[in-house]
């Protein structure tokens, strides 16, 4: 009894306890805003894919070097290493987006590897030291350095970027390739477990579909199995633009084939597929102008399959439905989303192409079933910039929009602030985004998209999340 008041004195923290910044949960809706996390890593063995027009690049490694330790994430690696395709090593780069987001790393353009920036005020972790703006460590020999580094004559761990072994120290080092060019198109995500199906184009006019899985929540994917899960027949040159949906225990894979949109079924989680002999959707409407492709699929609660597709080479997004997942009908002779429907006089205008849909079934808090639709469109989303007193008009580019339907995909309401994902650089340059695919991962939505620079040169797959980390 006597001690009760004393205990009361000991409980309170009197404002000193503190609390983390931005406590509280952010709600994910999958609509907007999307935060770009940079390039998606798709590994094939120990290398990952880079932009299609890039060269194979790697890092000079001493021939006596031990292989890097195996890893699932950067956290398992040392200070300057990243987890690259399951192995800890310093990572090559030629742009900051390739070094990930939110991990404090930036591309050191002097050495073309991802590093931790530092300054007199911003120190380095552990025993690392700051050398010309990036962290490194002192060394006496190569083994004092981290995987992918060598010890320089000035006793600093350095990395040497290379294309071939001839660029490394002859007889002592080899060029270990980290990144190969890869033309990856139209990714399709499937959740639970998180799988990626993507079109890989070995040559310009050929295409095949590969499957990849992720062990780190979608930051990186590894191709598994090694062989394509769907490849063109001898008479075909390309199968591509996959879309995937789960119907019961079966995976439905829709894809572009020469005569329309084909279908394949898998009962082993997408490792193998049984392809239908004929397309399930053909271009038979006037607005489609003989072209259908880039499918996006969703399965409703009653197992009805909604197959959205791009028609007429960007003329709009059409819908085909199927009760049994095999035979599809088109409920309307018009597209469900077209340029007029998504145009806004201020926010998104001069739209001349709409397509590449990705769809998901959605349930709102009162249990109403709806359909979320992400798509790419080509238009203008910003005003003119003022440069040295001169007005410079914006340039049309591909961006990603969002729309939702509460009537089983028959009609869509566009998001009022489209586009929902549009990257800008240096105040005025709009990079391009297309071929979105979206899946829930944990308490967030993950988007993979096909990226391109303002001039339209493909830069590979990118990742964005909603809400921001």
């Amino acid at each position: 009894m006597r001690r009760a008041p004393l205990l009361l004195f000991m409980l309170p923290a009197c404002g000193f306890l503190g609390e983390s910044d931005f406590a509280g949960a952010r709600q994910a809706a999958g609509s907007a805003p999307w935060t770009n996390l940079g390039a998606a890593t798709l590994c094939q063995g120990s290398t990952f894919f880079g932009p299609p027009d890039s060269d194979p690049v790697g890092i000079c490694i001493p021939q006596s070097a031990r292989p890097g330790r195996l890893c699932l994430s950067d956290a398992a690696c040392r200070s300057r290493e990243r987890c690259v395709c399951g192995t800890c090593t310093v990572q090559i780069c030629d742009g900051p987006a390739q070094c990930g987001s939110g991990n404090g790393r930036d591309c050191n353009f002097r050495t073309n590897v991802c590093g931790l920036p530092c300054s007199a005020q911003q120190g380095c972790p552990g025993q690392d030291v700051c050398d010309r703006g990036f962290c490194t460590s002192a060394c006496l020999q190569d083994r004092d350095c981290q995987t992918g580094e060598t010890c320089s004559p000035t006793h600093r761990c350095i990395s040497a970027f290379c294309h071939t072994t001839s660029e490394c120290i002859g007889g002592i080092q080899d060029c270990q390739i980290q990144r190969n060019p890869g033309d990856l198109r139209e990714p399709a995500l499937l959740d639970d477990p998180l799988l990626l199906f993507v079109e890989l184009r070995p040559t310009v006019s050929t295409g095949q579909i590969v499957r990849a899985q992720s062990g780190d929540g979608g930051r990186s994917f590894s191709i598994d199995p090694a062989a394509p899960v769907l490849a063109p027949t001898a008479a075909e040159r390309r199968l591509g633009a996959p879309a995937v949906a789960r119907r019961g225990t079966t995976l439905l894979l829709f894809f572009e084939e020469p005569d329309g949109i084909g279908r394949a079924l898998s009962s082993d989680n997408g490792r193998t597929f049984q392809r239908d002999p004929a397309p399930v959707v053909r271009a038979d409407q006037a607005w489609e102008a003989g072209l259908v492709g880039s499918p996006g699929a969703a399965v409703l609660g009653d197992q009805t399959v909604l197959l959205f597709y791009e028609g007429g080479g960007g003329a709009g997004i059409g819908l085909a439905t199927s009760q049994d997942g095999a035979s599809f009908i088109k409920p309307s002779a018009r597209p469900v989303v077209d340029a007029i429907a998504i145009s806004d006089p201020t926010l998104w205008r001069q739209i001349d192409r709409v397509g590449q849909p990705a769809a998901r079934r959605a349930l709102d808090p009162v249990g109403r079933e709806g359909v979320s639709l992400w798509f790419a469109a080509h238009g203008v989303e910003s005003a003119a910039t003022l440069e040295s007193g001169m007005l410079v008009p914006p340039v049309a580019n591909n961006s990603i929009g969002y729309a939702a339907s509460l009537d089983r995909g028959r009609t869509f309401a566009p998001f009022p602030f489209n586009p929902v994902f549009d990257r800008i650089e240096n105040f005025r340059q709009h990079d391009q985004e297309s071929t979105p695919t979206v899946a829930p991962v944990g308490d967030r939505f993950l988007m993979l998209y096909g990226g391109a620079d303002p001039q339209g040169h493909a830069t590979g797959l990118g990742i964005a999340v909603n809400p921001a980390p």
Binding site: C14, E19, G24, Q27, P365
Partner: protein, 424 residues
């Protein structure tokens, strides 16, 4: 040629709004256990919060120290909203001084200090669902100093509830070249200007077993005003201004009427009605402006989103206390209370996503009053405990535009409070 400040972006998130934490949970454990129906029933350490006039009715100087903890079991879309728990120290005082046979002058103080910080200024993007009344704002300091005067059956009280803004002349940062080197200099002028709202109270004791009370509190809020100006004084450079304006902790005007009746020596019954003037709340959408005056002025979107108008609410509270003497120098009390607190937040059918729910509050409590503790304390000591359960009535916000995400909110709050009150 120096281009004009031409690029402007406005917006935007939504500041949290709320009456102070004592409005949500009450002040001392006795008041909380009685459903906070204390406008007429207070006479001691809780007076500076419930009714400033009550301090003049304290029989002797009293100081009370309490601690409270609230588990915020709230969810949005059936997922934990991770609302931080509200917990902190409360200190109350009623210091009466006689000025005649029927005259008492008193000083009162109600003070609440959260464990984590004194206050937190937080804004959330306008479209993100968030418990606008229960997230964050139940965690702020409350300081209510009051004065009271009793003349016969009438007691009056007045005071202020104090808070502060976060403002100043801003932060000025200059980057330039000097002697061929890039150099920077900065200066800063930030203040917490004090804010105050009036507290008024009246207590009438027509009979020894009956008291009627009224109290009024003015409106109060915290305004954040922070300007960061960066001058880049190198060729091609210019100015960048980041200007933040936000409003937090809106505490509406409150008018309470109450009655307390002692039907027997052992029983006290009390009832309150409190009117909250939420409709006067404006400026809930803070803004952040970024002005870039460089060789390139980006085309930034500008928009303003009017906040949803909150509506006034009426909260009803009732409580009772049953006392029993355990021994000549100790007495026990059991207490219970009930309240209904409607939400001032309208249906969220447009862009804003303010989560808030009507609440039923059920409270229970017990107290032990000791005339003295032999060998330790020569004056009375009261120990009280209270448990409040806030049941949020589930609510769904269904947007008119299907492309805007709808959301649901629900949950409950469990609040535990302990108070020790010593007389001097």
């Amino acid at each position: 040629m120096r281009i004009p400040l031409c690029a402007l972006c406005v917006l935007c998130g939504f500041s949290n709004v709320l009456a102070d934490p004592l409005d949500t949970f009450g002040f001392d454990a006795r008041g909380k256990a009685m459903g906070n129906a204390m406008t007429a029933g207070t006479s001691g350490i809780g007076s500076a919060f419930y009714n400033p006039a009550g301090a003049a009715l304290a029989p002797a100087p009293e100081i009370g120290l309490g601690y409270s903890y609230a588990a915020m079991l709230l969810s949005i879309n059936d997922r934990d909203a991770r609302v931080s728990s509200s917990r902190g120290l409360s200190l109350g005082a009623a210091l009466p001084s006689r000025c005649g046979s029927a005259c008492t002058f008193a000083v009162g103080l109600a003070f609440y200090l959260p464990d984590q910080f004194i206050a937190r200024i937080q804004t959330i993007p306008v479209s993100e669902p968030r418990f606008v009344l229960l997230d964050n704002d139940v965690d702020r300091i409350v300081i209510n100093p009051t004065l009271a005067l009793r003349l016969g059956p009438i007691a009056v009280g007045a005071g202020v509830t104090l808070f502060s803004d976060a403002a100043g002349n801003g932060i000025d940062f200059t980057v330039g070249g000097r002697g061929g080197m890039q150099v920077g200099e900065a200066k800063l002028d930030v203040a917490l200007p004090s804010r105050a709202a009036p507290l008024l109270g009246l207590l009438w004791t027509p009979r020894t077993d009956l008291r009627v009370g009224a109290s009024f509190r003015g409106q109060l809020d915290l305004r954040l005003r922070l300007d960061i100006i960066a001058h880049v004084d190198i060729p091609g450079g210019g100015d960048t201004v980041i200007s933040i304006r936000a409003l937090n902790f809106y505490t509406p005007r409150k008018l309470s009427l109450g009655v307390a009746w002692d039907p027997t020596d052992r029983i006290t019954l009390a009832a309150d009605a409190s009117y909250y003037n939420w409709a006067d709340f404006s400026g809930g959408v803070p803004d952040l402006r970024v002005l870039v005056d460089l060789q390139i002025a980006p085309a930034l979107l500008q928009g303003t989103f009017p906040a949803d108008r909150l509506h006034d609410t009426m909260t009803l509270r009732a409580g009772g206390e049953w006392r029993r003497a355990l021994a000549p120098d100790r007495m026990a009390a059991l207490r219970a209370g009930l309240a209904y607190e409607p939400s001032p937040v309208p249906d969220q059918v447009l862009l804003t996503s303010l989560a808030d729910n009507d609440r039923f509050v059920v409270s229970l409590g017990a107290g032990l009053q000791l005339a003295r503790i032999a060998g330790f304390l020569d004056k009375p000591l009261a120990l009280d405990a209270a448990l409040e359960w806030h049941a949020l009535i589930g609510r769904t916000a269904q947007k008119l535009d299907p492309a805007l995400p709808s959301f649901s909110s629900a949950g409950s709050i469990v609040h535990l409070a302990l108070t020790a009150t010593a007389s001097f």
